[in-house]
């Protein structure tokens, strides 16, 4: 288990922020770390029931929520968009 910095942009935020997660964290856990640090600070809380997904910047498809950082083939400071699933 090791620290892994990622760049995240939560839907509504003005720019990317850098968070540090554990490489054993799942994508869902990464999303939660980002939400805890950005929602209510720069972005208004999402409506109840909103499902948040993450994808690498510019990708079409979301990442598997149960995928771990270690297995995601990320490079350090990989950029992830975190957005509300429609």
């Amino acid at each position: 288990m090791a620290d892994f910095p990622l760049a995240v942009n939560v839907q509504g935020d003005y720019g990317y922020k850098v968070i540090v997660v554990d490489d054993g964290n799942t994508i869902d856990e990464v999303i939660q770390v980002a939400v805890d640090q950005i929602v209510g600070v720069l972005v208004a809380p999402f409506p109840e029931g909103t499902v948040l997904r993450a994808k690498t910047h510019g990708a079409e498809d979301p990442l598997d929520s149960s995928l771990t950082v270690a297995n995601a083939n990320f490079i350090q400071m990989e950029a992830l968009q975190i957005y509300a699933e429609k």
């Binding site: 003005y14 720019g15 990317y16 600070v41 510019g58």
Partner: protein, 506 residues
Amino acid sequence: MALLKMEEWYDLARETNWTPKYVSEEQLFPAPMSDDHGIPIEAWENFDEPYKSTYRDYVNAQRDKDVGAYSVKAALARADFFKNASPHWKALLALHFSAVCWAEFHSASAFARMTRFSRSPGMRNMATFGTLDEIRHGQIQIYFAYEFLKHDAVFDWCHKSSKTENWIIISLRHALDDIAHTRDATSAAIMLNMGLELAFTNLQFVALSADAAKCGDHSFATMLQSIQSDEARHAQIGEPMVRIMVENGKKKEAQQMVEIAFWRMWKQFSALSGIGMDYYTPLEHRENSLKDFMEEWVIGQFGRTMQALGLDLPWYWDILKEDISSFHHANQIGVYVYRATEWWRPIASTSPAEREWLEEKYPGWNETYGKCWDVISENIRNGDYEKTTPIAPPLICNMCGLEVVGTAGEKWHPVDHHVDIDDRRYHFCSEPCKWIFELEPARYKGHASIIDRVFDGTIGPEPDDFYNYMGQSPAERGTDGYEYRWVDGYDQDQNETEEEKLYATG
């Protein structure tokens, strides 16, 4: 003894050149310092500056300018202007002086290189005056700023800032080192004069001078006008240089130099002048927005100048037209929420009336950047001041050194461009920043942004390590210039006495 008229001897004197006997041309003008781009000396000797001056005329003119500027300052010295100035204006003065003073003084080095190593004798002549100009600009601005030291220790940063590793200073120093201080005399002349001085100094010095006069800061206004008159003269060095390059088959090289320098300096001025004009200038004294000014004087006038010189409009011109409505708004949010990382007292400048102005000048501001300010404002109303600063630091562009930002709110559009080299990810805020990096990766890849330095262990893990690294003692970490009393309008507290009220006026 009768003196000859200037026009009788000027061209002879400024074109005087010589053929070295004791060393070779290459030893006298080594390529890393001079770089003639293979253009013959006869072409370089055709350098012809539009505004001509003799040393005698220069000394007389500069003396008159100094008398003008310093006498206005002396006359106003007893006025309590600074004490009575709003936090808006104080923030603007602190930002201007601490960013600009040393940058001007450092430019003297670039002009001195041109003085010694330019292949054109006429340019060596003009660059001599440019060197003296920049020494003057460093001195006069530090002198004017130091008047405020007795009121506010932040003005110590006018001298101190360039010697720190503050993230904003890293950004500015990197840009100026890239275009002026690590280039041969020819490239520095084109990049500094065209890409910075001709393109942008009007923004910071003429527009700001007008705003300063409206705010009643006549000392600052006069100083800025005085400086800009020098810029108008020595910025002209770039145009004849570009002409010589274009006429001698080096258009592509000149084009690239201008494109690199212009974009690098656009990023700096979007932060300095963009935040200055659209946020720090008190509302009732604002005239043009950054966008207004950029559209007329840069996209319009500078664009035409480039074409008149035989260059093309930069390939990223359409990107620039979008950037002037977005980049500085996003960076203003970052400058505010990460205010402890700045040495002055940043202001939000997003009271209801100011938001109306921003919406008028930038339609859609409220549904985009305004949405972030809604959350910040609500936290302030609830007394949750700690929540107005994110725990997560921002991602920093590995070229311009500012935040990697996109569009916020209801039109959310994240922006990120990247390059991977040797298992390291480099991030960029824009295609042009990435393009500059990719032109010469070896030149840029060794540089670490402030965030890189956090994660590569250069900066220790504790919060104080970060501020100490940036040269900020606890007293030098920015706080809200209005102490949060802007959120529902500056006149919200009707029970305050006149002395306690903080008006958003000059």
